[in-house]
């Protein structure tokens, strides 16, 4: 787990545009500079999606190779980072589709509970949203989040990672997964509720979910 110090997005994009045009003209050093700038994000996406370092390393290799092979087709109407990110997401999803994993059942997704008349059965003891924004991330909290994300059924985990962590739009996720936008939103909401619950337990009960 680490936090990156990155240049401002507009500076990064401007630098990428310059590197891209040199790479498209055959400058290998410029392409390598693009790889260096985006490898952590691509690797992070692949590792989060597949939960395997070996798979993530291969996805990073395949994604950047694929980007290189299609460099000349890339018109630059999107940022290079977003483009290579989507290539990596596609590679990761394809790999997941070929895996047979034991899935958590949908009814195992934890979320808030309600009384028969629709009120919350347990009220949040305190609002931790400000702590979450201001404080350095607690390692145990990080672990609780990781465990909670790992427990989500695959389709829910994918949507949550692609939208909330990788920043793809609903339409881009729909294109990648073949699922409808309403289905994606419904899964994202339930995934967020489960993760919020895990964080709430950490802050209010001092320990992660069992």
């Amino acid at each position: 787990m680490s936090e990156q110090v990155a240049p401002a997005p507009e500076d990064r994009q401007e630098e990428d545009r310059l590197l891209l045009s040199r790479a498209q003209a055959g400058d290998m050093a410029a392409f390598e500079a693009l790889v260096e700038a985006h490898r952590d994000k691509v690797f992070g996406l692949a590792l989060r999606m597949t939960r395997s370092e070996a798979d993530a390393a291969e996805i990073a290799q395949d994604s950047f190779l694929s980007a290189y092979q299609h460099l000349k087709d890339f018109r630059g109407d999107a940022a290079f980072g977003s483009w290579v990110h989507r290539i990596a997401a596609n590679h990761a999803l394809m790999r997941l589709r070929h895996r047979r994993v034991v899935q958590a059942a949908e009814n195992e997704i934890k979320g808030p509970e309600f009384t028969d008349w629709g009120s919350l059965t347990e009220y949040p003891e305190r609002d931790w949203s400000r702590d979450a924004e201001e404080k350095a991330l607690d390692a145990e909290l990080g672990q609780a989040i990781q465990q909670s994300a790992d427990r989500l059924p695959e389709g829910y985990r994918e949507v949550f990672l692609l939208k909330d962590v990788e920043g793809l739009s609903y339409e881009q996720i729909s294109e990648l997964t073949g699922d409808s936008v309403p289905a994606i939103k419904s899964r994202l909401h339930r995934a967020r509720l489960a993760l919020r619950e895990a964080i709430d337990q950490f802050y209010n009960q001092g320990n992660p979910q069992e």
Partner: protein, 79 residues
């Protein structure tokens, strides 16, 4: 009058700015009288950012070196 359950089910669309004006009005009315749901909304909104920070990863140095070597060999053999 919307319940907590109704309101919480609308949070994603509310934060995306995609609720109908009627639903927005009903949700606001509920939130005005329900402080637990206000706390819930704040923590629901904070969840994605916190998860993003918790799930960040850097590529290990050794793997970065291998990636560069892999790309150089593939690109060299293709040209």
């Amino acid at each position: 009058m919307y319940t907590c359950k109704d309101s919480i089910n609308l949070l994603l669309d509310f934060l995306d700015g995609e609720l109908t004006p009627e639903d927005t009005q009903h949700l606001r009315e509920h939130l005005q009288g329900c402080s637990p749901c206000v706390d819930f909304l704040r923590t629901y909104r904070a969840t994605p950012g916190l998860c993003k920070r918790a799930l960040a990863h850097k590529m290990p140095q050794e793997m970065s070196t291998k990636l560069t070597e892999f790309l150089r060999s593939k690109i060299k053999s293709a040209s």
